[in-house]
Symmetry: C2
Amino acid sequence: MFTTQEYIARRAGLKKLVGEGLILLTGNDEVGINFEDNIYPFRQDSTFLYFFGIQTFGLTAIIDLDNDEEIIFGDDPSIDHIVFSGPIESLESQARKVGVSAVKSVSELSEYLGGAVSKGKKVHFLPPYRAEHSVKLSALLHVAIPKLEEHSSVELIKAIVKLRTKKSAAEVLEIEKALNITVEMQYRAMEVAKPALKESDVFGEVSKIALAKGVGTSFPPIVTINGQILHNHYRGNELSEGDMLLCDCGGEVASGYAGDLTRTFPIAKKFSATQKEVYDIMYASYRTAVEMLRPGQLFLDVHLAAAEKIVEGLITLGLMKGDPKKAVAEGAHTMFFQCGLGHLLGLDVHDMENLGEQYVGYTDTLKKRTDFGFRSLRLGRALEEGMVLTVEPGIYFIPELIDLRKKEGKFQEFIDYEELEKYRDFGGIRVEDVFLITSNGAQILGNRLPTSATEIEEFMVSHKRL
Amino acid sequence: MFTTQEYIARRAGLKKLVGEGLILLTGNDEVGINFEDNIYPFRQDSTFLYFFGIQTFGLTAIIDLDNDEEIIFGDDPSIDHIVFSGPIESLESQARKVGVSAVKSVSELSEYLGGAVSKGKKVHFLPPYRAEHSVKLSALLHVAIPKLEEHSSVELIKAIVKLRTKKSAAEVLEIEKALNITVEMQYRAMEVAKPALKESDVFGEVSKIALAKGVGTSFPPIVTINGQILHNHYRGNELSEGDMLLCDCGGEVASGYAGDLTRTFPIAKKFSATQKEVYDIMYASYRTAVEMLRPGQLFLDVHLAAAEKIVEGLITLGLMKGDPKKAVAEGAHTMFFQCGLGHLLGLDVHDMENLGEQYVGYTDTLKKRTDFGFRSLRLGRALEEGMVLTVEPGIYFIPELIDLRKKEGKFQEFIDYEELEKYRDFGGIRVEDVFLITSNGAQILGNRLPTSATEIEEFMVSHKRL
């Protein structure tokens, strides 16, 4: 997938940016589901993958910046392991393919690190996102688990973000592979969904394609008639004629890159008049956002423009009122659009989210907002050539939120609560595509899917692909 | 699925067996795949499920035996959580359904435990199988992570094993549901497999059924033309006419109970003469084992009898020689049958494996053997009414193992290494069914699947179900 030279260049970039000390990158281990040997599908840590590319558990890598030394610590399997899991390529051979010549046993890691620390070297490591990292780092570095995050290296985080933000041509190809699997998943969902099936039947079909054509899904697929529940993983409802099905899913390819696309479509093949009105508002918001994508454009402003477009539309429906700009400034749009417009995508579906959204999606001067509706906007900073990101506006009617805000007496200037009652059970809709920022604009990635209401209805009736 | 009374009775049984002190049971948390919020499908800890039945992350339960107090520690979701994940039933209401009236916030847990410990109460807890348990238990009990296992409670382990070993009628029904999904998975694999498809295509079909009809797979399905690799998770090979496909898979139902069945079938619809010869030997071993199942029967002896039957068969093929009993006594059968004949099944596909195989499958006087071919025999002790277990003999030709043993000069009295070379690339076959031990014998669970070579060939040709 990637050449030895590309891995060497990535590490050279990292070394230049971090400068001095020692970089410690922990690969992921296997995680037991209900006992140690019944494991979840193994997923290598994305940063480890980016710099070292090896898809095996139990590895740790060290880059000693002062001695310009790169070592992978890991152990080759025993005969028992070969009997149960088959022969695997030696670690030394795998390491050579990514340009690393030094391989040592895990048993040497602690002493190696101890030696470096006793010489006063700074150890750069990342904040843990799995308990296994905490246990491992705490034992290796003699730092108490609750203190690990504050001892992690901001310099290392910033360097990784800088490198991983700009996708290479080879990375974009991997993302497109993942998206093309995802396009197949979306088409399949639209092809099979029909009254009397359950959400879980469509979920099964969508998952099957990810498992058969890639290495699985890049996140647990959301397949729901209750699109207003943003990360809905219940899937026991039966589909009925009047329902819309929201399908948000992604395939993952062997290299680890993720797809992520959403479509919302009517089980009856045609949207009802009300459904179409709301869909068109969301689609207008999507168009507005997409047209703004170019290097230098603050993504926070794209989010706000997309929100304003939604407010404008809801004013024509009579659900909102007043000045759209002012409504967005006061956060009234968060009644219907509670989440972020998009996020970076790459080796992670929310790319680099484990490094901290402030570092990934914002800057030293642009702080991530913590108020409702903005704290889930993962990307705010100016777009750059080579970024890959999603655009995913949505309109969601959440009964619990409506009741809460009404009780609080909030947004009275902008919301017609009486009119809103009629939409209480509307549900939620979203559309999501993935874009690459180019030198002067943006380019959609992956094969085409029906996107406008008309295109979706045409596909639902004809099953003819674009 | 289970009545409030059944949960109360299970805990009453536990209290009686453990006697005094305080029982601390940690539920499972969510595990990030590549960042904290991108989570693997949540799976509750099986012991927590058995006694408390609640399928939510972030819970801990305490049973204070001295005060006869049962408390679940957990927190209800915030509005942010409701927006993203939908409304969920309050913890109090869920607790009431399993007969627990005391619910406290997680923030109170540390103080509650501290108070109990300062009064000199013994805290019974289980050995951790996920790093999250280690981190949680270490912080709560002020025990260093490497010391947790030795501080865990053998009394608690033994009490749980005693209770969970004997399945209630309601539990057997749940296992049958899981098995019937698994039967559908097996039929689907046989129906769709054909030349030029990839293993991953069949894997996708099999997984789809588990996802659509249950909550997923009870372990990562093995779908491979290289059946000799016992836990093979590579699935990129193309199926060809001469191949046999080994499919070992299980569905899991909402209550957490597991299915686990294996079939090996010819892509060409008919076995070759050599394939059929080896299949028949394995099937004879299966029949021998099944006929021996009854209360009081040492399962280690069933394993040995099944191994002997394999040796007898391989002698007729000319691959082995000498006295079958002696061959098994000296371990020569482990050249072809490297794993255990079966394991308990219930909430876990290897039931209670996290509690330690010595406690689950053996006794104080019957120690688990540690030599090759026996260290993966998870069950050795006498069978009891109400046990549910698998029977899964197999014959595997592992080139790396053949080469190793030949080089070591082992088993020369029993193996014809020259003849064996002809079977070097045969692959591996297995059949696996699940049985309930009854008062005077055993009963197969779940709908019927083709099992003998003839039945399998008939299904492959006709697609007519039994």
